[in-house]
């Protein structure tokens, strides 16, 4: 009887040990790791990834001279777009006192330097151009740091993440931190690291921004979603990118 007790004890200890070890190795993971092998293959093959078309469109827009000044992105930043390498890893970023997302900065550049009307948020053109720019940083670690400039926005973003909202009264953290890895319906709840935006989401059958994804969750908990391009959105994006700092950028990622 005593031997049996000892054995049970041992098994108990080993399994606790295994669980802790697993929790440590899988401390932070991209949504990529919990996807099916088929979806991973779709993301990995640049010719099969449906986002390839947005990258092509983005490249065309990059070189397109337009507006009163007949300037294209390429006129200042170079034909290949390689000068944008690493740029996406720093956004959202405080630019002349305002927190800007990558999309916001592209639009800002368009309005001020090209003298053109800004693209609508979530329009195909803006997504294509953002994907093209972010794709230049593929594989580089996300490098959003806490600085004197962004700390108040980062704090607000943090607060949004832990803020319960909507009729279901849920915060981001309750699912994506406390229950990450468990299931919601049939799908695994990811840890919400925005490593691959803009993403090709199979559910959307299209490319979409992080803000679209965040609005999805907000309407899911029956809250009033933050507006596209709003400061609240940028703050939440900033916090999420800071939380994922060091993880490699996958743009354009594929998600189910």
């Amino acid at each position: 009887m005593r031997i049996v007790h000892i054995i049970i004890c041992c098994i108990g200890i080993t399994s606790t040990y295994l669980v802790t070890a697993e929790a440590q190795t899988s401390a932070r993971q991209s949504g990529y790791q919990s996807m099916s092998a088929e979806n991973q293959a779709l993301q990995d093959d640049p010719n099969a990834n449906p986002a390839v078309f947005w990258l092509m469109d983005g490249q065309t827009l990059w070189k397109d001279s337009a507006g009163p000044k007949q300037k294209s992105c390429a006129s200042c930043h170079g034909e290949s777009g390689q000068s944008m390498k690493g740029a996406a890893t720093h956004y959202p970023k405080v630019m002349s006192g305002k927190l800007q997302t990558l999309e916001g900065q592209i639009n800002q550049c368009r309005a001020f330097n090209q003298g053109l009307p800004q693209f609508a948020y979530e329009s195909k053109q803006l997504l294509a151009l953002t994907a093209f720019v972010a794709n230049q940083s593929k594989g580089l670690p996300i490098d959003v740091q806490k600085t004197a400039n962004n700390q108040s926005d980062l704090k607000k973003g943090h607060d949004w993440f832990y803020q319960r909202m909507g009729q279901l009264n849920l915060s981001c953290a309750q699912c994506h931190e406390e229950r990450a890895g468990l299931k919601l319906g049939g799908s695994i709840i990811p840890q919400a690291h925005p490593t691959g935006y803009p993403i090709y989401r199979i559910e959307w059958q299209s490319l979409g921004s992080l803000e679209r994804r965040l609005r999805n969750c907000m309407s899911g908990v029956r809250a009033q979603p933050f507006e596209y391009g709003s400061t609240e959105m940028a703050q939440l994006e900033l916090y999420l990118m800071w939380r994922a700092r060091g993880m490699p950028l996958e743009t354009p990622a594929v998600r189910p």
Partner: protein, 109 residues
């Protein structure tokens, strides 16, 4: 932009005679089913790719019909036997005058 004539073909450019080669063809298309309604309750008309064909040296080697159940940006993966050096022509046709054309060369030794 959602429906352009952009397509991508992935296949080997060299093959041995008699070898089975895999061809992947993807086209940018929204594949609007015709069963959806817009915000005003108006039905969005169907706008899909209807057919895809591949001809190898002028001979049709593969054909597929598409239906509203097919998702956006459809990818077709199929195989054929490398018989001779030449051109493979890929053609997509669909609703509302949609047409896309792509070509690929293969050298068979």
């Amino acid at each position: 932009m959602s429906k352009t004539s952009r397509t991508v073909i992935t296949m080997p450019d060299k093959a041995k005679r008699g070898e089975i080669i895999e061809i992947r063809a993807i086209a940018q298309h929204d594949m609007e089913t015709g069963f959806r309604y817009d915000q005003n309750g108006k039905r969005i008309p169907r706008d899909i790719i209807r057919s895809f064909t591949c001809s190898y040296g002028g001979v049709e080697v593969f054909k597929a019909d598409f239906y509203p159940g097919v998702g956006a940006n459809p990818m077709v993966i199929f195989s054929t036997i490398a018989t001779e050096s030449g051109t493979l022509q890929f053609e997509w046709t669909g609703d509302d005058g949609y047409e896309a054309l792509n070509q690929a060369q293969i050298t068979v030794t």
